[in-house]
């Protein structure tokens, strides 16, 4: 680099050449018209195709083609919640994905119709957004809501956007931003796939909603101690690392998220019957937290007291705590890793929620169950082959 550069840089200051003689104002007008009309035509064409096919069934249920349900729950749930008939919804993380809606219907009886709106790895805020779409339809009578402490963490309006922007436009009431769904490359790809299958007679049977995002079958092979042990070692390493990196846990933040996303819904919708439940992770999971992230462990106990305190005044709210049920948590063959239990446990929980067996009905009971869990964690002898 030397001083010549100054001259050369100056030379580049004028990006445009003087207007050529031939280019009249009319030429520019024609150019702008051509651009404008092309843009409008493309936009209108794509939006029309996407609106007519509507692959996420956001505007209506699919009628003239076999639906293709997306397994991207954050994208698919809004359409399900808007356009299906139901009176019960399930909210929560992967801990709720193995509830089978038709079985939930059978357990609760009285013509119950259940829609599962689980989102794996969700935050409370994401769960609330999905729940609110359903609530806006006015048909929700019952919400079954799995409360994972992990969902309370990370802020009261946490959206998981690690892999792309959250489709918030599907969840709000602004119809104008839905253009992001209509003018969307993924929607277009799906629409074209639907059309192609329709025209070539290669439509696949739709996944029944009963099984959409149910992972029991996919992981049948993994319900063996070997996998639980392997995963235990990974989880332990991760927990140790988190502890070394000084990861902290804030009870206040978790409470704030609860208040912002759960309590708020309960307050605004007194007409709904709520079944909150604490999922029974394996004892190994609790013990790892207890040993390596004690702050997080104790906060999980502490927040149950807070939640009971906040919700006890509502007669339409039921809280079920399965976390100290040794019959579940100590039998490692119920799990495919240290936290995910099998579909049989989901079925059991639904039956017990309907019966109220595990419902905590007083602060004393909350404290007693917490005490049991603490005792179990202290006394359990993990027998992990190294």
């Amino acid at each position: 680099m030397n001083e010549e550069m100054q001259a050369s840089a100056k030379h580049h200051i004028e990006p445009t050449a003087p207007a050529p003689e031939s280019a009249t104002a009319g030429g520019y007008a024609r150019f702008l018209w051509a651009a404008g009309i092309t843009a409008l035509l493309l936009f209108a064409g794509v939006c029309t195709v996407n609106y007519l096919v509507d692959p996420l069934q956001f505007y209506r249920q699919a009628s003239w083609y076999t639906p293709i349900f997306s397994e991207e729950q954050r994208f698919q749930n809004a359409g399900l919640a808007r356009n299906w008939e139901y009176d019960t919804i399930i909210l929560g993380t992967s801990m709720t994905e193995n509830f089978v809606p038709s079985q939930v219907d059978a357990v609760f009886g009285e013509g119950t119709k259940t829609l599962k709106l689980s989102i794996s790895g969700s935050s409370l805020y994401e769960e609330r957004l999905a729940g609110e779409v359903a609530l806006r339809t006015g048909q929700v009578k019952r919400i079954i809501w799995g409360l994972d402490y992990a969902s309370f963490r990370g802020g009261k309006e946490l959206l998981h956007e690690e892999y792309g922007p959250y489709p918030i436009y599907l969840y709000d009431t602004n119809i104008w931003n839905d253009v992001q769904y209509l003018y969307n490359i993924s929607t277009l790809e799906d629409s074209l796939r639907v059309l192609k299958r329709k025209l070539t007679n290669t439509e696949q049977p739709a996944i029944p909603l009963d099984l959409l995002n149910n992972w029991q079958k996919k992981y049948n092979y993994a319900f063996q101690l070997k996998y639980v042990y392997d995963h235990y070692k990974q989880a332990r390493e991760a927990d140790i690392q988190a502890a070394q990196e000084g990861e902290t846990d804030s009870l206040a933040a978790a409470q704030e998220s609860f208040e912002h996303n759960v309590l708020r819904v309960v307050r605004e919708h007194p007409e709904v019957e709520y079944h909150f439940f604490y999922p029974p992770y394996s004892i190994l999971r609790f013990q790892l937290w207890y040993e390596y992230q004690p702050e997080r462990f104790y906060n999980q106990l502490e927040i149950k007291k807070y939640i009971y305190d906040q919700l006890s005044a509502y007669p339409n709210v039921h809280i079920h705590d399965f976390q100290s049920e040794m019959e579940i948590t100590h039998r490692l063959e119920n799990y495919k890793d240290v936290s995910h239990y099998s579909q049989a446990i989901n079925q059991y929980m639904i039956e017990q929620m309907a019966a109220g067996t595990y419902e905590t009905r007083s602060m004393e009971e909350v404290i007693r169950v917490n005490g049991e869990l603490l005792n179990q964690v202290r006394n359990y002898q993990a027998d992990i082959p190294e």
Partner: protein, 490 residues
């Protein structure tokens, strides 16, 4: 807000344009400038409202210092009289005047130093504080907590712009008596967060020129075209390459020869299309306001030596570094050794400017060293065949980007090691489509005319209008896959 976002393209830009031209048409020129300034602050505050006051204080501060410096700058006549008086010492009056001038001169110098220092401290605090703390902790085993400072977006750019202004105000080369004009020059949103790094000399007159207060259909058509071209470069090309580079740099634990080359090349092209595309969007948007921003890229990967590369890559940064660091250090006027040292210092600073990390400093060092070697080579005077020269230059630039991109030293080493991993050559986990994409990007960067050349040949053909719209609509529909713009933390 990002240029490649719906809110910018469909709301912010059209509204700010429409109101601006409406006010101009009603002959409310000051109101139009106020509007544009306010819109730019809004644009800036969209990211984080807390950083608006920092920008505002920075502008007020630099404007005040600039006015003070310019008011006391020697006029040209005075300066030449002083020069004459120097030879005629018997003129007592001139002596006295020179005596006064000397004390003013000292005050002005002090003020300039203070002004620059304040800018550097502001930048240093926000951008480099945590980096320094980390290094002190490492060196002295101290346990100071990091402050977790979030970098106000664009601060590196508007700090440099304003330092240049102060220096030129000190030299008496610029004088701006309108705070509004000055503020607009600094915050004008097309260039605010990612450049081009403007020079007041090329901007202030444009805002003041009544000739620009008329909608110019050529600028409008051209601006739209350039904006669309930039959008396609960013959203369609760079964002398609990004995941390929990310995989190799951030996820893979070891790379085969082919994987490593795909990784490094895809990043080199990603960065080029990303940054030059973003610059095109800035240039295009500014043209809609009849403002011409300087070019920032000129097919850098076609360069035949590293010196030329720096005249074609991020040209406005190169210009700044040269005029405000290299030349003040003495440039090439103090002998060979000093020239080399100046080059090295300039590029170490340039590297550090790009980011608070040792990999950036090392990247700057590599380029400084390459420029020194180039100079020595030129002195020896051996001609190199063009193809060899291009190849060497491109290979050097490509390899140096590895340090620029890598988040950790280990990642850089991993990629470079892969690039010479002759034991494991195969495609690995890379897809043929990635190879094709990188090859396509290569051809586009090397064999085609760049957007600047298009601009000079621009004719408002109907088919071009159709193509511009199609490109824009293609980019818009792909926007739910966009990644963050890369140059933000610089």
């Amino acid at each position: 807000m990002l240029f490649n976002s719906y809110v910018y393209i469909l709301a912010f830009l059209p509204i700010s344009l429409a109101v601006y031209w409406f006010l101009i048409r009603m002959s409310y020129v000051t109101a139009a400038k106020l509007w544009l300034t306010a819109a730019s602050f809004f644009f800036y505050g969209w990211w984080d409202i807390r950083y608006v006051p920092i920008l505002a204080v920075s502008i007020l501060f630099n404007y005040a210092i600039g006015v003070w410096l310019a008011a006391r700058a020697p006029s040209h006549e005075e300066a030449s009289q002083d020069a004459k008086a120097h030879g005629q010492d018997h003129l007592g009056g001139a002596n006295r005047r020179r005596g006064n001038r000397r004390s003013t001169e000292r005050a002005r110098r002090l003020m300039l130093v203070l002004g620059i220092a304040a800018n550097v401290i502001l930048l240093g605090y926000f951008k480099y504080m945590d980096f320094f703390i980390e290094n002190i902790n490492f060196l002295f085993h101290t346990g100071w907590d990091l402050l977790g400072i979030v970098l106000p977006i664009g601060i590196s750019f508007y700090t440099f712009t304003q330092i240049a202004y102060l220096v030129d105000a000190y030299k008496g080369e610029v004088r701006e008596n309108s705070l509004l004009n000055y503020a607009l020059f600094v915050v004008f949103f097309p260039q605010l967060i990612a450049g081009p790094i403007l020079h007041h000399r090329e901007m202030m007159p444009q805002f003041a020129d009544p000739g620009n207060y008329r909608v110019n259909s050529r600028n409008f058509a051209l601006g739209l075209t350039v904006f669309a071209a930039g959008l396609v470069k960013k959203v369609v090309i760079a964002d398609t390459l990004a995941p390929i580079a990310s995989y190799g740099f951030d996820e893979a634990t070891a790379l085969t020869l082919v994987e490593a080359w795909i990784t490094s090349l895809s990043y080199s092209f990603q960065l080029y299309f990303d940054f030059s595309g973003y610059t095109d969007m800035a240039i295009g948007a500014a043209l809609l306001f009849n403002i011409k921003l300087p070019f920032n890229f000129d097919s850098p990967y076609k360069s035949l030596n590293i010196q030329v590369f720096w005249r074609r890559w991020h040209m406005t940064l190169g210009r700044f570094l040269m005029n405000y660091i290299y030349i003040p250090l003495g440039g090439n006027r103090r002998g060979q050794a000093r020239t080399y040292l100046n080059l090295m210092v300039t590029f170490l600073i340039g590297g550090f400017w790009h980011g608070a990390g040792w990999t950036f400093i090392f990247w700057g060092f590599l380029h400084g060293a390459a420029l020194v070697i180039h100079r020595i080579w030129k002195r020896i005077g051996i001609q190199m065949p063009k193809l060899v020269a291009w190849f060497l230059t491109f290979q050097f630039v490509n390899a140096s980007w590895v340090f620029f991109r890598a988040q950790e030293w280990e990642d850089a080493i991993k990629v470079l090691r892969g690039m010479v991993n002759f034991e494991s050559i195969g495609l690995g986990s890379a897809a043929w489509s990635s190879v094709a994409l990188v090859a396509g990007a290569f051809v586009m960067a090397i064999a085609f005319r760049n957007t600047n050349e298009w601009q000079t040949r621009f004719r408002p053909r109907v088919y071009l209008g159709v193509a511009v719209a199609a490109g824009m609509m293609l980019a818009l529909i792909r926007m739910n896959r966009i990644s963050e713009f890369l140059y933000f933390n610089f």
